[in-house]
């Protein structure tokens, strides 16, 4: 496996393992950290559109991030 890939896989495993080990859904008054902009998924719509469009046009296939938006002649 490519070394940086090992690092990324390890980070992913650690994060998911930590999550499983600490399952304690927060109360409404415990969500201040979840409210941080950095904790949002796809918070920056234009950035997501632009970057996913680049990958869509340079790699074999795309998916996972949502539906819609239509096709283009770039792939």
């Amino acid at each position: 496996m490519v070394p940086p890939l090992r690092t990324l896989a390890a980070l992913l495993a650690v994060a998911l393992t930590a999550g499983c080990a600490a399952y304690a859904p927060p109360q409404p008054w415990e969500k201040q950290y979840l409210a941080l902009p950095a904790m949002q998924f796809d918070a920056d719509r234009l950035d997501v559109k632009n970057v996913q469009h680049v990958y869509y046009s340079k790699e074999g296939a795309a998916g996972g991030y949502g539906v819609g938006g239509g096709g283009c002649g770039c792939n």
């Binding site: 496996m1 490519v2 940086p4 890939l5 690092t7 990324l8 896989a9 980070l11 992913l12 994060a15 998911l16 930590a18 999550g19 600490a22 399952y23 304690a24 859904p25 927060p26 409404p28 415990e30 969500k31 950290y33 979840l34 409210a35 941080l36 902009p37 950095a38 904790m39 949002q40 998924f41 796809d42 918070a43 920056d44 719509r45 234009l46 950035d47 997501v48 559109k49 632009n50 970057v51 680049v54 990958y55 046009s57 340079k58 790699e59 074999g60 296939a61 795309a62 998916g63 996972g64 991030y65 949502g66 539906v67 819609g68 938006g69 239509g70 096709g71 283009c72 002649g73 770039c74």
Partner: protein, 370 residues
């Protein structure tokens, strides 16, 4: 609690793919403030021996609450493309290498209505190029648990594309694609949120690239993608680790694994810095043939020499520097570098004879909520 903080809180508890967006936009309720954003993307790519394609891409996004339970959002982007598409095994074909100038104008709009325990959305998208027109419609349903810690998302999209080239290589060809999404987002604890999405795409029609020599692809394609993401905040460091993994199963055979890690570090004065690293490893499509171009070509059978359907690995290191000015204004600069090499495919087996492909993009953005 400030209105924007409440909105962000709701968004955090929901955080849906391609649905929630701007700071302050709330996924479990209409956004409490309007938000407008402008970004300019400068994209360049190159291969050994010279520059290839340049794209200048200004884009505009806006979301506006129409009432306490209704909001409209939309975006417009323009791509101005010039240069030459990547060389495919050093053989020029169609537009590749000969220099092209094209443009793409795309826009989308979506209306979302919120109820107590669910929200529904409907949207439309349109994309126009000289030789390619795409029209799409989307329907979404989101529902959440009473404690708002878990959200389920379901979405459906249909697209109808028309391909017509001036050269006559493709005349009034059609492609139809249906996309489905099922996803769940869970607030695991005070500092961890996880999301997992399955998307399934099923299309039929014209999938060839009319600008590539001998290119002939199957007229049906299905793509299944499983994306799982986790955001872990570390209060003591005032930083957030964001990791993602995606497995993609493609009926063309270009299956891939993608992993990504992002570290968001908040800094004093509203500044933040966000380095990131993405890696993708991909199989070649079953009808992909390596160099020299035309080798392995059998009359009547699918064939492509498109390097995007080859076997390779790709890394994208990047960094974002952003600032929240505190009065509704935000600004950011993003720089990412992309490199694709056959030898970087995990486990080996990358397509031999391909030139490495590199790209970089710089994106400057400014936004304001009011």
């Amino acid at each position: 609690m400030a209105a924007t903080e409440r909105g962000a809180l709701l968004a955090a508890a929901l955080a849906l793919p391609g649905v929630t967006a701007a700071p302050g936009a709330a996924a479990q309720g209409a956004p409490d403030a309007a938000f407008v954003q402008f970004k300019y993307l400068d994209y360049r790519d190159w291969q050994p021996g010279g520059r290839r394609m340049r794209v200048d891409n200004p884009g505009f996004y806006a979301v506006k609450p129409l009432s306490d339970t209704l909001a409209i959002e939309g975006s417009i982007v323009y791509d101005g493309m010039s240069g030459a598409s990547p060389l495919y095994f050093n053989a020029l074909s169609g537009a590749s290498g000969e220099g092209v100038r094209d443009y793409r104008t795309a826009g989308d709009v979506k209306l979302t209505k919120w109820f107590d325990r669910f929200a529904i959305g409907a949207g439309a998208a349109y994309s126009h190029e000289r030789d390619y027109i795409s029209r799409a419609g989307t329907l979404e349903l989101r529902t959440w648990t009473e404690d708002r810690n878990r959200t389920y998302a379901f979405a459906f999209s249909g697209a109808a594309d028309r391909i017509h080239t001036e050269s006559g290589a493709a005349e009034r060809e059609r492609k139809y694609v249906l996309d489905f999404l099922a996803g769940v987002t869970q607030a695991v604890n005070e500092t961890l949120i996880v999301q997992s999405n399955l998307t399934y795409s099923r299309g039929h029609g014209y999938f060839d690239d009319p600008y590539k020599l001998f290119d002939r692809r199957p007229d049906r394609r299905r793509v299944l993608a499983w994306l799982t993401r986790a955001n872990q905040h570390f209060p003591e460091r005032n930083g957030t680790l964001k990791v993602a993994y995606r497995y993609l199963d493609d009926s063309f055979g270009a299956d891939s694994h993608m992993v990504e890690a992002v570290w968001h570090q908040a800094l004093p004065g509203g500044w933040s810095v966000t380095p990131s690293l993405r890696y993708l490893t991909q199989k070649a499509a079953w009808f992909f043939r390596g160099p020299p171009i035309g080798s392995g070509l059998r009359p009547g059978e699918p064939y492509t020499a498109d390097a995007r359907l080859s076997a390779f690995g790709a890394f994208t290191p990047g960094i974002v520097v952003a600032r929240d000015f505190g009065d509704g204004w935000v600004a950011d600069v993003k720089v990412e570098f992309y490199r694709q090499k056959a030898s970087w495919r995990a486990g080996g087996g990358g397509t031999e004879g391909l030139l490495p492909f590199s790209a970089r993009w710089i994106q400057v953005g400014v936004g304001r909520s009011f």
